[in-house]
Symmetry: C2
Subunit: 308 residues, 2 copies
């Protein structure tokens, strides 16, 4: 199924208890593309970058089947820049710098060849831009997946709610699900959020795994217990990329296949956190991915025959 991805492509400066890096590529669409391109090789990328974005990074993604026709290059502009510092527990972080740069003028016009995409992955971005992308599609895509964050709930809730009515799958973390719904219980939160539009809700819980809700059905995907989390940046986008890449490849948007897609996404995310930024994703082999997915199967496999 043809796949359109919209999101940021950026530079990040990152500081974790294990080290720091002053300038590394990042952005939601960068991570989604690196992750999804392990499974699907016709990714219609929509983003905006400055003249400073390295040609080598573009070439590497293009070689993996990422189409840059929808990526606007502002030659004399600077790419979006974000800088953050993680706390010791790696679950919380402080934003040190946010320089929008060219992102401030991001108002994408989709190339004609993009407008029939069957799957649209809306990476974390200002809701108005997410909506504009959906409005440019020739027909309603078969599957619209949206990532967002608490920031947009606080500054653009009305727009966010409008986009939600156009979305099939929402991906948020547990605190965002609670904030959006006003419910502490994730089961109740899931019911309220489904009533806002998305019939599928994925709640990402970091080291505690992920939940998929759909009507009365729930699926609990574990996270692989890791010895170290080196840098969590991009893990959520990498998860989204694995999810959407698996669905695009298998052409199957059923609940059952979404469960498998979540395991694939979780496996990719477990690699992402092993090194700074997208470094680990950029050196990943198919054998490593297959082995990691096997570890996830082992992790949750149990025999219930012996129960009374």
């Amino acid at each position: 199924m043809s796949l359109l991805v919209v999101g940021t492509m950026a530079f990040d400066a990152l500081e974790t208890p294990f080290g720091k890096v002053d300038r590394i590529i990042g952005g939601s669409a960068t991570y989604v593309a690196w992750s999804a391109s392990n499974f699907y090789h016709d990714i219609k990328q929509v983003s905006i970058i400055g003249g400073d974005f390295p040609q080598s990074e573009i070439d590497n993604l293009a070689a993996r089947g990422v189409d840059f026709a929808g990526v606007e290059v502002v030659k004399d502009g600077k790419s979006f820049f974000w800088s953050g510092r993680y706390h010791m527990d790696m679950n919380t972080r402080d934003t040190l710098v946010t320089d929008l740069n060219v992102l401030a003028q991001f108002n994408p016009t989709l190339p004609e060849s993009y407008r029939d995409s069957e799957i649209v992955m809306l990476g974390n971005l200002v809701p108005a831009v997410q909506m504009s992308v959906l409005n440019q599609m020739r027909q309603r895509p078969k599957l619209v997946i949206m990532d967002t964050m608490n920031f947009w709930m606080e500054v653009a809730l009305d727009d966010l709610k409008k986009v939600l009515t156009m979305v099939d799958v929402l991906m948020v973390n547990d605190s965002e699900a609670r904030e959006l719904s006003g419910e502490h219980s994730l089961v109740k939160a899931a019911m309220k959020i489904q009533a806002m539009g998305p019939k599928y809700l994925i709640i990402k819980k970091g080291e505690h795994g992920a939940l998929l809700f759909h009507e009365k059905n729930v699926f609990y995907a574990p996270a692989l217990p890791l010895e170290d989390v080196f840098d969590p940046t991009g893990a959520g986008d990498t998860f989204a990329g694995g999810f959407v890449g698996h669905i695009a490849r298998t052409k199957d948007i059923s609940f059952e296949n979404m469960k498998t897609a979540i395991i694939v996404g979780s496996a990719l995310a477990s690699f992402c956190v092993e090194k700074f930024g997208p470094t680990r994703l950029q050196e990943l082999t198919k054998e490593e991915i297959d082995q990691r997915i096997k570890e996830f199967v082992e992790l949750v496999n149990f025999d219930i025959i012996n129960v009374a």
Copy 2:
């Protein structure tokens, strides 16, 4: 496999955001016995109670196969009393009152008929008493399971470490595992704790499920997402009771069967939190338990055939 359970039998006063109860039976051994007796009916109970402990509660447990020969009754004494108040998120609580009462003089002498038990479940209790019970066994039990809490790490760490060398399976929650090991990563914590004695470590993460570590093997058991948690009191002991009851019934102490036992324990714990104290456990049917275990199977079941 014959089963010995040691722990407290008590009264609790409980306050949650959903209501309060001034006096309800509780204590680690009470919850373990109610839970385990769904699966196994020869439970050698070791505890101490005052003359105020209701005969009807004793009769109800005795009718389920719980042997009271090892429960000391101090006729003119009062049973252990604990009072606590849960915060809105149900993950944290304040202890309001701890009246040790007869527990202060708890120094159990095991009946002869108890000393060959094959499984010993050490409920949360002062480590010196846990050790005294193990020292009275005629031979080393086939499986020793121990529950404990952060309080004992702070006031009786040396004794706790001695008991750990005599234990096969340790059950603690995630913050206790971190405190005991001094490691934030649960994978590293598990390695350190295994080096202290227990070859199996179960880390309970409440709404995030439980992890079982053994050498290089890890199993991740989910928790059932619940609409409401009414009262978490006793959930950990109920989990332990389901775990140990399943093992006693199936006579199988393998890692594979421990995984199933964790699912059984998780299912029982998911009932426990639905009402105050052990109320829900006292009205539970076999059909409800079977149905709940099926829900756990559904919750984690996914098909990986379709992966690249």
